[in-house]
């Protein structure tokens, strides 16, 4: 693999990891909010 290809691979992986972290964070907040509304309601 050339240095350019390695760089592209790294960038793609980093972007996927950040997107996954944001999705998981959002999911945790959403579940917390649903639980809060359900319990309070």
């Amino acid at each position: 693999m050339t240095p350019d290809e390695q760089d592209t691979l790294k960038r793609a992986r980093r972007g996927r990891n950040i997107a996954l972290a944001l999705v998981l964070g959002g999911f945790v907040i959403l579940i917390y909010a649903i639980a809060w509304v359900r319990i309070a309601g």
């Binding site: 592209t8 691979l9 793609a12 992986r13 972007g15 996927r16 950040i18 997107a19 996954l20 959403l30 909010a33 649903i34 809060w36 509304v37 309601g41």
Partner: protein
Amino acid sequence: MTATVETPVTVLPSEWRDYFALTKPRVMSLVVFTGLCGLLAAPGHINPVLGFTAVLCIALGAGGAGALNQWWEADLDARMKRTAKRPLPGGRLERTNARDFGIALSVASVLLMGLAANWLSAVILAVSILYYAVIYTIWLKPRTPQNIVIGGGAGAFPPLIGWVAVTGDVTLMPVLLFAIIFMWTPPHFWALALFVQSDYAKAGIPMLPVVAGQAATRRQILAYAVILFAVSLAPWWTGGTGAIYGVAAVILSGVFVALCLPVALRRSAEGDKMKPEKRLFGYSVLYLFALFAALVADRLILGQGLAP
């Protein structure tokens, strides 16, 4: 899969954008909008957090079904100009990853819908995903020129799901909203199929213009538009909406029929720019947005939508 052409062996590193593209975001915008309108037009109240979650689940379910559709049709997509650059035929994503992503989104959306709203809306969401991914994509689309008619049911579920998320039961009004999109789908897609029919023919998909010819397709576009005119007025006639929706439906559906007339009466030759067909396709998207916006405006301003 459905065809013999293989997707490229070398898979480029996939980015989050490729996974996002799998969910067919442009189609999803209409799904989310009609689902939200169903939720807002329904009688009753839903907590904003739960309402947001219900719409999110409709979007996730549509995205999951879209991903499964692209997984199954990767070889067909590679043969059509319109779809050849999608992540799978473009070689930017592995097929199994697309399948797993689609299944994960679908399952998560159904479970979350059940927990946040109610299990009836979750069951209808599951049925809509299976309808699109299995009945339409795998079974009907490659087999019958009426694929769009029956498959249109898949896109008709969102307002029904949004409505049931609020009320918890299926009544006449959400069924009428389902029927509106069901009748809207054939003229919408056949208008598109008329000007991209060579693409469908190349991929071996039996779309109506390819199998039955232009004349039959044009006649059926007009027939469905006339039925849509009557169905779109039904929520008003049955007392489910007020005058705002009724007037909007008469005008919007009247224009829809008027735009179908030149499409139905003309024949196109080689090299035709297909302007009336393109105009009808563009208007059909605007039509659905405007009709459902009128439904919500009617409910919010006149407080209608109380009839079952």
